[in-house]
Symmetry: C2
Subunit: 408 residues, 2 copies
DNA sequence: AGAAATAGTTTTGTGAAGTAACATAACGCT
DNA sequence: AGCGTTATGTTACTTCACAAAACTATTTCT
């Protein structure tokens, strides 16, 4: 470490403090929050202002004596990220700025099961480029700091989709397939498992603004069951990013056969397809049908849900025993039926826990969001900037230097 | 962060680089390894030499032209840590220096099941003080930088034993019970679950010297089954330090009843007690009897082991799916029978894994060690010094100032 | 013996944050 | 309105850690 890394470290500390508070802090308040002196904070803030990552608010009437501070905020609509999600029954794109404001979005309801990745990604890439152009037209100017692509898949590194059984994709490298218009954005792309990004969305109110006690197991269900681990507000990806594969945890070694070759996988009981089959329903977009049946008290639906709860209890308790977590957040399909599911889990999960005498388990449903994985992905890319403002500033300087070097 | 934290950060970087290499690096080599300049490394090393954390070796005949470098080593026998472990059938104490050399040890073979924590801890504390005094007599001088106490228990924070079913202890705070002679050492005490510390021992060759690819699930068996997670050479403790409770993961929801109140817990099949019962053996110290029967090809023993392997396959695969780990290290009891166990696990575990097509699972037995948890605990306390040499130096200065202020 | 090569030290320079004083801008009292 | 009080933000100067470069020391090779 040298002095310049000290500087960028403090730049980061200041930025994180401002984002964590959701903005509205003055320089003096930031100094108090970070332990740095007002002079140092002033200098760092002026750099963030120059880079247009932060903007100054109007003076506030505090009612206190003394010179009022100028509140600072994450800069609106100057730097933005694109979140993309592709799932079995829909795709979605969302553009979000550093403040967490959604600048624009598109949803495409369509079946992507057994689809052709080349065509799908080309269309999605074009839609992204169009959406970004629209947003840029409306607002004055906007830098795209990154894009994320959420897929129900095992992803290798941050680029390669190894296996997406429910889409019928394997070994797809999306970056090249999103097309020239997307490439022209010149934004880094993060390819990531959808449950991982949904979990990030569930742990934050806005980019860099982690909710209290953000240590939980996220369980999101769709056709399959995906899970992810949040510890201290951070996603635990595991070595290859495949952590949280709860869907194929064995809940009954003598149970139902699964497409994966094993027996008694959680997915065969608590996946959306499994529950719909057990409830005698036809698969459609969303969970409207199942919720309606449950609300009506349909015995087959209730039985399907009960069986799912049993399986989930075993798998979730295993995860909690292994990970030492005491909070579970349900997302997507499972959030939709949480009204019925959570009471069952609340009574059944502790039966399997070593420490149920010492600590309660908390169950929660994630806030409703049409495209939680796109949201989480956008958070990720925005936080790359907030967590490394120094790198972003240098990158931008290089970019504008390159532009100046190549006159139009 | 300020300049002094920059300094201590670099002190740490240098110390970690030296320890990671196992010593023997010259200042110039350290500079190359850390990216700092030779001048800076020189200054930092002189500080470490002054604090007696590092010592200079004799000149080496490299055969290369140019002035030969002076190799630096972790200082032997100047700073040491005490590792203590208490388990069902034995207790052990080990004193280890910064180089990883065992300066002295004691083993007490005795039954501690349903024991009185007050008496046990008093005796152990006295044994520790005696051992340290012995070592100090032999060597010139020695600072004790910390002590660790490993117990088969759920530990809260780093002090309180909440629940140790197999010892019959609950809500014990060991620090005060280890006695005045122990307190006179004036060393911080870390109380920790035994499997956690065994896993640390399994991930290192010496203090601060992490083995390659130190990402694994450690599974250690004794009366119960304990597990722990090592990721990137670091222990993942979970929020309360209870991570890795594999022993009570449900491997069969309709299985055998367990003392914990649940059914089909792993421990009921793969714990030492369960295996001994199934093999028709009487519990004794160690696993000698079981190993002998297995070697002789006794069918009951083989069947017991096979049933354990089945249960372990389910629990381990759940853990690997959830954590995205692809390596398992077996310790203690399970390491003793790994010759028979590992081939079974190698074929059965992948059946339950989502990514078994994409990645192999590696199984290993931990290196034999009479008291792995004491070793791991000593590593922990020694690494506190290596990872924060600046803090240690300040602490020592304060200590000697206090001594000077209170003349004998 | 002298050149080349490498190790470690010394000196000087740079840059980041701390310190302290000051300018600025509000409130409140007389 | 005028003045003191209080808090914010800025400026000039100091401190300190690391970088750069020159220098000394010690070895091998020719």
């Amino acid at each position: 470490m040298n002095q310049s890394s000290l500087r960028s470290q403090n730049l980061r500390v200041v930025a994180r403090a401002l984002w964590a508070a959701g903005g509205g802090l003055s320089r003096a308040e930031l100094a108090a929050a970070t332990g740095l002196t007002r002079a140092t904070v002033s200098r760092l803030v002026s750099e963030l202002l120059l880079a247009r990552l932060v903007s100054e608010g109007g003076p506030t009437d505090s009612g206190q004596p003394g010179r009022p501070g100028t509140p600072l905020h994450p800069a609106p609509a100057t730097v933005a990220a694109v979140g993309i999600e592709i799932n079995v029954d829909h795709a979605g794109v969302r553009v979000m700025d550093l403040a967490g404001t959604v600048l624009g979005e598109r949803v495409i309801v369509e079946q992507f099961a057994a689809s052709d990745p080349v065509g799908v990604l080309r269309d999605v890439g074009a839609a992204v480029a169009e959406l970004v152009a629209d947003v840029r037209d409306q607002r004055r100017m906007m830098d795209v700091c990154g894009a994320s692509l959420a897929v129900p898949a095992l992803v290798s590194g941050t680029r390669l989709i190894r296996l997406a059984p429910n889409l019928g994709w394997h070994d797809v490298e999306p970056f090249g397939l999103l097309g020239d218009a997307f490439a022209a954005l010149d934004a880094p792309l993060l390819v990531e498992n959808d449950a991982n990004l949904q979990a990030i969305a569930a742990s934050r109110l806005a980019p860099g603004r982690v909710i209290d006690q953000a240590d939980f197991l996220y369980v999101g269900g769709d056709v399959g069951v995906g899970a992810a681990l949040i510890e201290g507000g951070e996603l635990r990806r595991g070595g290859r990013g495949w952590a949280g594969e709860l869907g194929h945890v064995t809940v009954d070694p003598k149970g139902l056969e699964c497409a994966c070759g094993s027996r008694g996988c959680l997915e065969r009981y608590a996946g959306r397809r499994a529950m719909y089959e057990a409830a005698g329903l036809k698969m459609t977009f969303g969970t409207h049908d199942l919720v309606e049946r449950l609300r009506a008290g349909d015995p087959r639906a209730i039985k399907a849900m009960d069986r799912a709860a049993d399986a989930l209890s075993v798998a979730i308790s295993s995860a909690l025993n292994i990970l030492d977590l005491s909070k579970v957040v349900l997302g997507t399909t499972l959030a939709d039926i949480s009204e019925w599911l959570v009471p069952l889990l609340r009574s059944r999960v502790p039966e399997h826990l070593v420490w149920s005498q010492l600590q309660n388990v908390e169950f929660d449903a994630a806030a409703p969001d049409e495209m939680p994985a796109a949201t989480g992905g956008a958070y990720c890319m925005l936080e790359r900037v907030v967590n490394n403002p120094g790198d972003w500033i240098i990158e931008q300087q290089e970019r504008s230097a390159a532009l100046a070097g190549l006159p139009i």
